[in-house]
């Protein structure tokens, strides 16, 4: 456990050195200014809050996914390429612990970034209306979505190059996030393509369902969320993370470095 923490800390510091956090801070300023910008188009209507939350959370989601794909697919290959992995794995550290450490370091940075952006958005809205803490519920969902994506990309990067691992992660995100309504209306009814619809529905059974983490709609429309739901989505996310890390560990264990 200590090895995981130490490697996670190294990874976190490495990402900070790469100034990943500066991108987040830039985004945070954007989030802070966003409600005021949206408000200028609201023409006196109170719908600005809904629009600002909707727009802000969408931005938050895309930012998280982009960072998760980018960081998750590159952390391990970069360590191998720079050979910083050698002194670490020459220690009595299991390779799966190394992967878990890399996951932890990347995830801490991402989750921290998501909550910083959520705070910026909440403060931006509070400046014109009132502080809305439910934004954090959506941020938690997106954070968990990012952790699953990081674990998946990390797993893919043990068997593919970083760009390919990123593409595979993106594919996972797209297919795993497709709603049933999409396959029903667009594939079955509109396009009359049952084969593709069945393929998508079938593959979704083996992929993480990212819809679970998307709480934008209830948050934007002030629909109450059962607090227990966050516990379930957390367990669901950690289950997938554990599976991806286990698969990555199996693949990485015998790999020649």
């Amino acid at each position: 456990m200590r090895a995981i923490w130490e490697i996670g800390r190294l990874q976190l510091l490495e990402n900070l050195r790469r100034q990943v956090h500066l991108v987040t801070i830039f985004m945070a300023f954007l989030m802070l200014a966003l409600p005021a910008y949206v408000n200028t188009f609201s023409m006196g209507l109170q719908a600005f809050e809904v629009a600002a939350k909707d727009f802000g959370l969408t931005l938050l989601s895309y930012y998280g996914v982009a960072m998760a794909l980018m960081l998750g697919s590159s952390v391990v290959p970069r360590d191998i390429e720079r050979k910083t992995i050698y002194p670490l794995l020459a220690r009595p550290v299991a390779r799966v612990s190394y992967l878990a450490g890399q996951f932890l370091g990347t995830s801490i940075l991402l989750v921290g970034s998501m909550f910083l952006l959520a705070t910026a958005l909440a403060l931006g809205i509070a400046g014109l209306s009132s502080f809305d803490a439910t934004i954090y519920a959506a941020a938690l969902g997106y954070s968990l979505e990012c952790t699953v994506l990081v674990a998946a990309c990390l797993c893919f990067s043990t068997l593919a190059s970083p760009p390919l691992a990123g593409v595979m992660g993106f594919f996972l995100y797209v297919v795993g996030g497709l709603s049933t309504a999409f396959t029903q209306f667009f594939l079955r009814e509109d396009r009359d393509n049952d084969t593709l619809a069945n393929l998508v529905d079938g593959s979704k059974n083996f992929l993480p369902n990212f819809q679970v983490f998307r709480l934008k709609y209830p948050v934007v429309h002030n629909i109450p969320i059962d607090p227990a739901y966050h516990g379930y989505e957390f367990i669901y996310a950690m289950g997938w993370v554990a599976l991806f890390l286990m698969l990555a560990g199996i693949r990485f264990e015998k790999r020649d470095l």
């Binding site: 200590r2 090895a3 130490e6 490697i7 800390r9 190294l10 510091l13 490495e14 050195r17 720079r82 050979k83 910083t84 050698y86 002194p87 670490l88 794995l89 020459a90 220690r91 009595p92 550290v93 299991a94 015998k254 020649d256 470095l257």
Partner: protein, 309 residues
């Protein structure tokens, strides 16, 4: 630990699959390194040094054969717990300070609690880097980075140090500093296994050395064993014509004017041969032993093996 084997490689093979087919990096490598000795590991680029080191560390898997570290199968956590390693191309997290990164390595090596600070202090003392403890790794010169590399290898207090190309690319002063550090480790009974391209360095600090070529062990022994066994005795003889008739093979040694013949003989055959010549009426004009350095031995061994290949 005396008499115990720190490293044991038995019929170790490693084949890499590449786009151009299979490449045999190791072809049945056998090697034994005793506990407490400083062992030099020599070979040309591509001889298989780094591959065998990676197998010892579990960074690479052997195709067949056995590798053990103090009796533990190489690559296992128990084996790695006994190794401190300095990679050939040592890249560290350069944004961290010497002290910070050393602490990380100490914890990864399993050092706990207050021992972390103590081990870091001792490791820095061993490599004389105490005054740079707060410097960032990026601020260190190449020589100081190598010293830090030795410190990080030492911080877990391992009984075996594996140093891959320790002094490669360093200036003579930095090389000497690191050699002094190695000699200091001998007093602490730490086994040092280090690969090098610098023969004089191996000659000056190692108890034993091995030359590996083409993925196989070519020679192994103490430095005197490696060099003296290959010494030649050069003898210049005056050979009268009647002696030449009785000993026609002396003709082959003709490379001097007149009746002089120059022969280069191994130590074992020199005495008998000279006695035989004297009995035939020859006289010795000059006799001297030609000493071979480790470098000469290295050239002989690698060229001979290269020619066979």
């Amino acid at each position: 630990m005396a008499g115990e084997l720190a490293i044991r490689l038995q019929q170790l093979t490693k084949t890499y699959r590449t786009s151009r087919g299979a490449v045999e990096a190791l072809r049945g490598l056998d090697l034994e390194v005793r506990a407490g000795e400083i062992f030099g590991y020599i070979g040309v680029n591509g001889a298989g040094k780094s591959t065998s080191i990676k197998i010892l560390l579990g960074l690479s898997q052997a195709t067949s054969g056995q590798a053990e570290v103090f009796g533990e199968p190489a690559g296992t956590l128990a084996a790695r717990n006994m190794i401190g390693y300095l990679p050939e191309v040592a890249t560290y997290h350069e944004f961290m300070s010497v002290e910070e990164l050393l602490r990380v390595h100490a914890r990864l090596a399993g050092v706990t609690g207050k021992q972390v600070e103590e081990r870091c202090r001792l490791a820095l003392e061993s490599v004389k880097l105490e005054d740079r403890r707060r410097s960032r790794i990026s601020e260190l010169s190449k020589g100081l980075k190598q010293r830090f590399g030795v410190a990080q290898a030492l911080v877990g207090d391992p009984p075996l140090l594996i140093l891959d190309e320790l002094t490669s690319g360093l200036d003579p002063f930095a090389q000497r500093d690191l050699r002094d550090i190695l000699v200091g480790l001998r007093e602490r009974n730490i086994t040092v296994f280090f690969s090098s391209h610098y023969m004089t360095e191996v000659e000056s600090v190692c108890d034993r050395a091995a030359i590996i070529h083409g993925g196989k062990l070519q020679v192994c022994g103490t430095i005197p064993e490696l060099t003296q066994n290959r010494e030649k005795v050069e003898v210049v003889l005056h050979v009268p014509p009647e002696a030449l008739e009785k000993l026609p093979e002396l003709e082959a040694f003709r490379d001097e004017a007149g009746d002089l013949r120059r022969a280069s003989l191994s130590r074992d055959e020199a005495d008998a041969y000279v006695a035989k010549c004297l009995a035939l009426g020859c006289s010795v004009r000059r006799l001297n032993t030609v000493h071979h350095s480790l470098e000469d031995v290295f050239y002989q061994v690698t060229r001979a093996t290269g020619a066979q290949a």
